[in-house]
Symmetry: C3
Subunit: 156 residues, 3 copies
């Protein structure tokens, strides 16, 4: 077993929906980034790369590279999973925590788990998505942005 972790944050900006853990949610704002700014999938991509010692998301998908402008982040996660499997590892389980005051994550949790399971090609019981707030404190509490952290275990 090897383990990895990831952390990511993106700013809120004008919009009417946001991508989180591979699911588009209607919201009063969106997250801003070069790609679709899905902090949940970015943190998880980093966790997988970290577990296998394969660099980080910025190595594989540089934000300065125009080909990733507006990119759907499922391709980052799928690519990381492919790389991890390419070194002979199996994905054991993943756990993502979204840190934000809004939107409410619970109504979308099962859709997010199902989507991540699909992207990673693992069973849904091996995928966890959780949410918490910072009780109005810090940049997530002031709703300047959303943060996500993820960990994973791989068999290698």
């Amino acid at each position: 077993i090897r383990i990895g972790q990831g952390f990511d944050a993106h700013r809120w900006g004008g919009g009417d929906s946001v991508w989180l853990c591979g699911v588009e949610i209607t919201h009063t704002q969106t997250l801003i980034g070069h790609s679709d700014a899905d902090a949940g999938l970015h943190a998880l991509t980093d966790a997988l790369l970290g577990a296998a010692g394969l660099g980080d998301i910025g190595d594989h998908f540089p934000p300065t590279d125009p080909q990733w402008k507006g990119a759907a982040s499922d391709q980052f996660l799928r690519h990381a999973a492919d790389l991890v499997r390419g070194v002979g590892a199996e994905i054991v389980n993943v756990d993502v925590t979204l840190i934000c005051e809004r939107p409410k994550i619970k109504p979308h949790r099962e859709a997010m788990r199902a989507r991540i399971a699909e992207i990673l090609n693992i069973t849904i019981d091996r995928v966890s998505v959780k949410a918490t707030t910072t009780e109005g404190m810090g940049f997530t509490g002031r709703e300047e942005g959303l943060a996500a952290q993820a960990i994973c275990a791989i068999e290698l």
Copy 2:
């Protein structure tokens, strides 16, 4: 093995003691929340639920539910441990980090470890409690609140 992580934060407010990792500590402030606001136990509860893919603390103990008003958080953690064992898992080890400028955690560390070990019904060598500051920076550094993060490994 599966692994999980949790993060939680609560605001400081008027009081003369605070619950942290299941231990009541005399302090010049308390943490505010619907329950006893024990961020350490909340983060650990989320880590256990995350490892087993069983949702998060907000699912099982909604802060809007009057039955959890002022609740002692050991019951949240015990319930999470029961759920994790209910799916056939064993708790391997847990590691909690408290992030605050004050109170000093070190004098209470062994009591916290012992209390968590008791709640989880595991030996104390499988329980770690650590503390760090953010050197006066951010919401924990400004002493607006305390944050906690936890991870756990379970055998499933």
Copy 3:
């Protein structure tokens, strides 16, 4: 397997180089602390101690102890590795995330991995160093300081 995590943060201050993950990087600022303020090695030291239930970095190297003034943090990490091995454990893998706007970590990543592998006496494929920003938000985004988090798996 047991797992541990660590978190650390230090403030930026006047200087022309900074120690990160055991490597000295030319930069327009330095990190301030009692020791060399290498937040990456400090977070990793805590992760190792946490996995083995051996306290935290503040226990073993109190910042109030003059013998650690200006200390190179590799000795903290080496000591933690020795303690972990002293209880019969093997270090399986480690993953460090540096959270800062600057300096750029990527050009130094391989040197950092190699240095950590050397300190821990493990192969480099078991060492991951990643970096992310908080997109200008929070204390890391405002460049008040740098944060680091680390996790590790040990065989015990």
